[in-house]
Structure formats: C-alpha cells, structure tokens
C-alpha cells in the first residue's frame, strides 16, 4: 500500500513538473532561452482574443476556365493565320466552348485536324450550320476543366502567400479548404481594409493598344467597334480630390501581360513629387516590349490593371531597356501595394470574400479581461460553496480543481491548441463539471459513513462505487465533445478542444489526485472522524 502510495505521489509530482515546464514560456513570455518556447510554445490565442482577421475567399474558378479558352483562342488565331486557313471568326461561348466559323466543309476539316493536334485537351463537340457557315465546336474535356480549376486555386493560394509575406504579418495562416475556398488568418493585422485589397486584388496587368479609329461617343453609347472594348481611365485631381473617369477604347488583343515581369518598385517622380511604379520585364518580356514599341511608334499604348486603364501614353520611340512605368495619381501606400501585388504575381482568377471576421485588438483584450474575470469569480464562488459544504474534504476537492486548471493550461500549450473565446467558456464549464466528480465521490463516502463504515473503508468504497458513474458521465460528454471537434467549425471547435482537454484533466484530478491526497493524509493517522 505504501509502495503504491509512493508511486502515485511520483506520478502526480511528475505531471505537475511537466505542466510547469510546459507553462514557463506562457507565464514568462520571452524571458526564457529560445529552445524552451520551441519545445512548448506559449498558449496561442485565437483571433477573437488577440485581434486579427479571419477571411474565407472564394476563387471564381469558372473565370479561370474562361480565360484558358481565351488563351486557346488567341493561339488558334495565330496558328490558323500561319497555315493560311481561311475562317470567319473564332469565339468563346457558354464559358467553356470554343467556336470556329468557317466557310466550307474542307476548311472545317482542316480546322478540326489542326485543333486536335495542337490542343489535345479539346474535344470536338457538335457541328451546326448557321446562316450558311459551318461552325466547328470544341470544348475542354471534363478532366482538363477540373485540372484548370484545381490549378487556379493552388496558384491563387501561392500568390496570396507571396503577397502576405511581403505585406509582413507575423504567423499568418493560409489554407486551402474544400471547394474553391481559401482560408486566411492574419493575427493582429492593423489595417484590415488594406489587407483585403492587397490580398484580393486580381492584379492582372495587360498592355493593349488604344483603338484610335474608334469614336468615343459611340462607344460610350454602347456601340463599341468589333474587336475592341471600352475601358475607363480613372484619375484623381491632387488639388481638389475629385475623381474623374475618362473613357478609352482599346483593342481586345493583349500585346503583353504582367506574367513577363521580373520586378516592380516604387519610385518618386521628381517633377511632381508623385510616386509611380517602375516595372522591369524579364528577358522574354523585354524583347517583346522592344518589338511592340518599335512597331507602334506614335500610337498610344494603354496600361490596364484589372480592366482599369492606369495610363495610356503615346509611344515616342522604341524602348529596348525592358522597363516601363505605371503612373497614375497614387498615394505612396497605393503605389507600394501595387508594387507588392505586381511582384507577387497576379491571381489566376478573381476572388470574392465569402466570410470576413475582423476583431480589433482593443476588443480582444476586453474579451480576455472579462473572460478571465468571470472564470475567477465563478471559481471563487464554487470554492466557497464546496468548502462550506464539505469542509476539509472540500479543501482537497479545491486543490484538485486548481491543479485541474493548471493541467488544462499545460495541455493547451503542449498540444499547440488555440484558446478562443468559446474555448474560455469551455474551461468555465469544466470548472463546474470537475466539481461534479468530487461531489459524486463525497456523497458516496457520506452514504458509506452513514452505514457506519470506518473513514478509510468509506473512502475506499466511496471512490470505487462512484468510479463507474463518473466514467460513464464523463465519457459520454467526451464523446459529444469529440463529435463537436470532428464536425464543428471555428468557435464550436475551440469549445470542443478545451472541453475535451478539461474532461481528461478533471478525470485525472478528481479520481486520481484527490484520492492520493486522501490516502496520504489517512496513511499514518488513525482518523476517527472524517471532515466531509
């Protein structure tokens, strides 16, 4: 008996020391050698407690498929011209369908042969005669569409990770979720609006030639010439702050894209003291830029970002250095952010915000304060009731309860779990329920004492009789908590984590630790009357 008492004492001591060891980084924050927090990190606070941003973005993958079809159209256009195949037009229909209109069967066959050899991902679909023409329909195979969608989400995740890295947020979380969703968590972010625009901007940079022949008035009225499109150049008057929109008609064809960028930086224009973004092309981009500027001296080239024209300067001379500048009426922060998104690359498809939860740091602190206050008050009240009701035995229950809280905190640190507001509520609930196990035992012991058993015997049978009740009651709750963890999201999960940890800790303290304390005190003494 005494042997087993020693062993049990060692187990309790070991658990206490291990917990203390795990909690040092949380309690001392930074004043410890760096290997320590690397082994047992300080308890992580959820975004609701420390402030920060929780975003779920949806990638518009259908757009990625459409833009893939558009690329194929551009390439087809070039190939058909190279091979002198005469066709009337190529266009995209219903998102993923590519249609080539030709004049006769023979050309139709040529087109089909070319498409099949050039683009294995395409499947020929139905062929219809429309107004004397022959239409060859092609569509992307289902596998290919799946691939494009999957790639778009992966690419978007990668790009956003780059942007967040450059934005400078400590410990960001970026995760791909089911469907086309991306979860982003940015703890302690100071300017949420800026973060959103930085992350969500598609940043598709395109260079297009301005269609000088088009009539602007007609275009604004809705009569845009075929092969061209109407965009707007937005500018802000620095003196008055008035925003103006100037319509510009540009060719549909993109001569150069931001994919060929090597770098982007903010510079200050010394004449107007205005920031602009200087971009450098990579080797391929520089060569193409050189060719384009050489061929179009005297014409205007529009620099288009996400379908907004930033500027449309006239090409004065051939530019062979491979660098250009994007000016607009930027503030220096806008220019910095633009440089960041250009460097990090464009998103393969637009994104939309599906969920946004932002908690300011001051609110988070308030929540922690009131949460901790309510835990203290609740615990003190319980403490008083238990001591008044069970006296010295109550004191044992209380020390078990205190150890319980201590173990919960230590386990949170060991498992790297995140403490959230509902998590705090879970702890408070465990405080209430941890007492229950001891109450069950004490009531049993009282029953045994009433039957006239000696204290030692009463405690022994009290514990053993209450044991199965406690196990059944706690296991069912644990079961519910685990299901919560499995199927729940966000706050529900945080609650489930602390509840599960709390149940395990309270089973240990209520059954094992409190029993040890009883046995320890009853060991040598011949106690006649139990204070219970």
């Amino acid at each position: 008996m005494s042997n087993s008492l020693n062993t049990r004492g060692l187990v309790v001591l070991f658990c206490l020391l291990l917990s203390l060891f795990a909690l040092v980084p949380t309690l001392l924050r930074g004043d410890v050698p760096s290997w320590w927090p690397e082994t047992f990190g300080p308890i992580q606070l959820g975004l609701d407690l420390q402030g920060g941003m929780h975003l779920v973005l949806g990638v518009d993958v259908d757009k990625a498929v459409e833009s893939r079809v558009d690329t194929i159209i551009d390439q087809t256009d070039i190939r058909l011209k190279e091979q002198d195949i005469i066709y009337k037009r190529i266009e995209r229909r219903q998102g993923d369908r590519l249609v080539v209109q030709v004049y006769d069967e023979d050309e139709g066959r040529q087109v089909e042969a070319l498409m099949m050899s050039e683009f294995p991902a395409l499947e020929p679909a139905t062929m219809t005669g429309a107004g004397g023409y022959i239409e060859k329909h092609f569509r992307l195979s289902d596998d290919e569409i799946e691939n494009i969608k999957d790639y778009a989400v992966r690419q978007a995740l990668e790009t956003m990770r780059n942007r967040v890295d450059q934005f400078g947020v400590s410990e960001p979380t970026l995760q791909r979720q089911t469907g086309n969703r991306i979860l982003i968590q940015l703890p302690g972010v100071a300017d949420p609006d800026r973060a959103i625009s930085l992350l969500g901007k598609t940043a598709r940079l395109e260079f297009k030639m301005v269609d000088e022949t088009a009539n602007i008035q007609d275009a604004v009225a809705g009569r845009v010439p075929e092969g061209s499109q109407l965009l707007y150049e937005r500018s802000t008057n620095r003196a008055t702050g008035v925003e103006t929109e100037i319509p510009v008609v540009v060719s549909n064809q993109t001569v150069l894209t931001g994919d060929l960028l090597a770098d982007a930086n903010v510079r200050i224009d010394s004449r107007f003291n205005e920031p602009y973004v200087s971009i450098d092309f990579n080797a391929v981009g520089a060569r193409r830029f050189d060719q384009i500027t050489a061929a179009n001296v005297g014409r205007r080239m529009a620099i288009v970002l996400d379908d907004t024209v930033y500027s449309a300067p006239v090409i004065r001379e051939r530019i062979s250095g491979g660098s250009a500048q994007i000016s607009g009426s930027f503030t220096s922060q806008q220019a910095t952010d633009l440089a960041i998104v250009l460097r990090a690359g464009s998103l393969p498809a637009p994104v939309e915000i599906l969920e946004n939860r932002t908690v300011g740091p001051s609110l988070g602190q308030d929540s922690i304060d009131s949460g901790i206050k309510s835990i203290w008050v609740g615990a003190l009240l319980v403490l008083m009731v238990i001591i008044v009701y069970y006296q010295l035995s109550g004191l044992i229950a209380i020390s078990a309860l205190v150890m319980n809280l201590f173990f919960i905190a230590a386990m949170l640190s060991m498992f790297g779990a995140t403490l959230t507001l509902p998590g705090l509520a879970g702890i408070v609930l465990t405080v209430g329920m941890a007492v229950d196990a001891n109450v069950l035992i004490f009531e049993r012991v009282r029953e045994e004492l009433a039957l006239g058993r000696a204290p030692k015997l009463a405690i022994e049978s009290g514990y053993s009789k209450a044991f199965s009740t406690i196990i059944d009651a706690n296991l069912t709750t644990l079961l519910a908590a685990l299901v919560l963890f499995q199927f729940g999201t966000g706050p529900v999960r945080g609650f489930a984590v602390t509840l599960s940890i709390g149940i395990i800790a309270s089973l240990f303290t209520a059954i094992f630790v409190s029993r040890f304390i009883f046995d320890f005190f009853l060991k040598s003494r011949n106690v006649k009357r139990l204070s219970i």
């Binding site: 939860r357 879970g426 408070v428 069912t476 529900v492």
Partner: protein, 301 residues
Amino acid sequence: MQLIKPDINIDFIGKRKLALIISLVLILAGFASLVRHGGPHYGIDFAGGTLVQVQFQSQTNATEINTALASVDLGVPIVQRFGEDTNEFLIRVERSTGELQGISMQITETLEQSYGAGQVDVRRVEMVGPQVGKDLRNKGMWAIFYAMLGILAYISWRFEFRFAVGAIIALVHDVVITLGMFSLFGKEIDLPIIAAFLAIIGYSLNDTIIVYDRIRENLGKHNKESFTFILNRSINETLSRTIITSGTTLLVVLSLFVLGGGVIHNFAFAMLVGVLVGTYSSIFVASPLLLLWQKKVAKAA
C-alpha cells in the same frame, strides 16, 4: 453541512403528470413564439449578412446612427447598443457582398463623415456570405445529430436501449425548450450558441446518466420492490449531488452571464436555461420515461 437529509423521500414519480404539464407548457410557449417569428432568429453566422461593432468617442444613440447611415443603401440596418452603459453599438445589415470594398467599409466611411475622423473606432467586423451561412448551419445541425447518435450507441451499450431512448428524449426536450426560450427572449442563434447547445446536451446527459446509474444499481439491489419505488429511491439518493452540482455549475454560468462580456452573454444565457432545464429533465422527464416504457412493455407482454 447537509442540505438534503439522507433519509429524504420525495415522491418525484408521483408528480409526473404535473411535470408533463409543465414541460408541455414550456415547449408549446417556445413553439408558439417560433411560429410567430417564422422560425429561429438566426444571427449572421447562419443567415448571412454584415455586422459592425463600433465604439464612439462622443455620446450618441441608435437614432443618430441610423440618421447618419441613411445616405448609404443598406436595406434596413439594425442598430443596437452593445452592453449596458457603453458607447458601443452593433450595426447589423442583412446584406453581404463578395466585393473587396465591402459594406463594412461603407459604414465606417459614412460614420466618419458624420462623426469626424478619429471619433469612430471599429472594434469588430463580421461578414458572412449566404453560401457560407448555409454551410455553417448544415454543419452545426449535423454536429448535433452525430453527437446524439454517438450518445445513443454508448448508452445502449453501457446500459440498456430503453435508457438510451429516455436520455435522448430528455436531451431533445432540453434543446427544444432552450431554443424556444431563445425565441421568446428575442435572442439570436449563431455559432457559439450551437456550442452552447452541445454543452447543454453534455451537461443534461451527465445529469441523466448519474440518476440512471443509480437506477441500474438499485434494480440489482432491490429486485422485489416496484419499479416506481426504485425510481423514486434512486432520484432521492442522488438528490443531494444533483443540487450541489447544479448549484455550482449555475454559479459559474451565472458569473459568465453577468461578467463574461457582451460576446459571451448569449452563450451564458443558453447555458443558464440549459442547466436549469437539464437538471429538471433528468428528474422529471428521463426517469418517468423509463416507467412509461416499462408499462408499455408490460401491456404488450
């Protein structure tokens, strides 16, 4: 100290008709309120929408905020004071938007125009799109469903099937009443409330199992006595524990309710109702159900 004398003998089972009436009244009142409001009052987590929590430097009130926001097309914003004596408000809009320049930004900018820059501190923004809201709702429902299924299996294994059925009916009873109370008091159901419902399930179950455990034990000990006697005896024997545990849990939940701060307030309200109803149901609902089952089986045999 003892609150309950060891030889206490209250005829709980004899009051089952009264208990049935009380339960029915509570359930029907909740149902009536739910029907009148056209279903549960979902928060933005489940309904979708935008919520902005704003703290003002200068004194203001809901009407003034509404006037300030009149220029923005927001549908009908609901403006509520957050907490008691604070100068903090919740602005809730039913609409949500996937656009990057969201509704929250419009609200902030408009308020800054009216109150002046630096006068408005946005403490919290929550925007949930309709699709995510629906997903969260489904997930929450399934979580509750699976939890119940798991419990049914566990109790059937550890006890008997009739005990499992009794426990589950008591659980549904508790959740339905709490849901009804939420509707009656005009409180919103959002994600943390689902967590609270699950905590209630856990708590009520805990309570029921402890009474059932005693019934199981006494069934072996007093096999000559009537079932009603055994039920009553088991409830009386565990009464002291029931009162102490419920009492201490209520103390904790009450401190959450009073001191826990605005965000946790509704959670604590759910727990408060749940603990009270859960304690009541393990005595007056779960145990009489076993008797009912016994009688049905006796009649069939």
